[in-house]
Symmetry: C3
């Protein structure tokens, strides 16, 4: 599955960079930066694999994932000025990352025969729990639980993906549509400052 | 095992409500409320299943658990005023919840043949770690580690349950006695402000 | 493997003491102290076992681990004055602990046939994540991510251990050399206030 693998590698690198940047912000050292980069990039997928019982977890079978995370370190350390300046535009990478990870997570849960609602949930977990675990370690209440449309974008993309799976489309087309949808929703929700309408009465 | 299933459903709903209320208190949005409700209700059992190797974890095989947690959301959102007013009496539901979850957790560990002390421990983990993970995500030192008799009540109930298992009692009777004991200890410890006697010298 | 078992028991006890002391510092009660002692001592190995899929996790098959952690409690509670006075020298026990746990963790990952880089990583996880999980529960950003040479010492020891494994040495000799190296690096890094040279540009 070269197409899926490619998706996963890009997403991992993008998330690792966002993790290392968060670690630098918090004045962590190089060890802390690697761990936070790793957790941000691979924490969501790791949690999914542990919950569904796919162990040893995914990245253990392919050392490339470890290398990809390590590669994010010099990029952030040596080009920090440029990366920081470009920070706002980095948001687009994070957005692409959650799109990729959501659909990849759904796909992995489907592959072991879990029910549709659980597969949708595992897609969301794959995409957002890397960031959640990062925030927990960095001692902050996860941002995505407070006000942004983030997990909700993943939810819509995941539901669309499993729905398209019932029709006679190629997997690649279904993936591209669903990933694009997550990216669009997330992108416009930030640009237009959309908020979820539900509030406690 | 209809009796056990029934116990589990009630406990899950009660815990989910207490989680959603904690999330609302912390001004989390609807996504955060669902996650905290889920973690509070199913986090302890999930940790137990992961540790003992029963994966995919329990709630993945039965979508009802997901629905039960989701049902707690509108209850808290639309009847928040009443629920908040009734907050102190909600404590009784939490108390019933830990009683149910302790014994159910012991039972699950016994069913895969773990040793008695580990089964007692897994009962306690099932009952209290949902709340512990909730507190970790909400960025607080878990209350139950600070001063209340909470895990201790679960400990007594779990020990009594495995002890009763050596006698010629029906499982239902053993369960009711042990669950009742957890509830009574917890209830009176709060009402009478009992504290554990052990202090560092 | 009596030699390995012996190593593991000593390390577990030393870590449990350091965990209970941290819990007392934070004014946790006896339940909190046991949990933090347990997590500090067995959390790293537990995370490793869950990630590599060795479940039920290690300590479930041998109740001695539970007893060792429980034994740390009266030691800290009844000899607290002496233990606190000797606090600085306790650092040496923590240092021995990470040396032992690193190599033991590498060994366990090797035994299920994971690739060398992943085994090195699992050694580090075994040694440092007990402390990391303790810090997360106690609501602090893990110290080892901020400025000390800690995980780096484990990294060097783990790499040396897998390298020695390619030569014709007995396992005991390889272990002693590697464990000694972790201890020496950690010891001198604290005494001489070594810091990692890598900083963001």
């Amino acid at each position: 599955m070269d197409f899926i693998y490619c998706i996963d590698v890009i997403g991992t690198f993008v998330f690792a960079i966002s993790g290392v940047l968060a670690a630098i912000d918090k004045k962590l050292d190089v060890v802390g930066s690697i761990v936070i980069g790793f957790v941000t990039a691979l924490g969501g997928g790791t949690l999914r694999d542990v919950l569904i019982g796919k162990t040893p977890v995914g990245w253990m079978g392919d050392t490339n994932y470890l290398l990809i995370v390590l590669a994010a370190l010099p990029v952030c350390y040596y080009f920090k000025k440029y990366v920081m300046k470009a920070r706002k535009s980095l948001f687009i990478f994070d957005t692409i990352g959650i799109g990729l990870f959501t659909i990849f997570g759904v796909e992995k849960a489907l592959s072991i025969g879990l029910s549709t609602p659980i597969c949708v949930m595992m897609g969301i977990v794959s995409a957002v729990f890397g960031g959640v675990i990062r925030d927990i370690i960095l001692n902050e209440i996860p941002l995505i639980f407070r006000k942004e449309i983030y997990a909700s974008a993943c939810f819509v993309g995941a539901v669309v993906y499993v729905t398209l799976g019932m029709f006679d489309l190629s997997q690649q087309v279904s993936m591209l549509i669903s990933i694009g949808l997550v990216i669009l929703i997330r992108y416009f929700s930030v640009k237009k400052q959309w908020e979820l309408p539900f509030k406690p009465k």
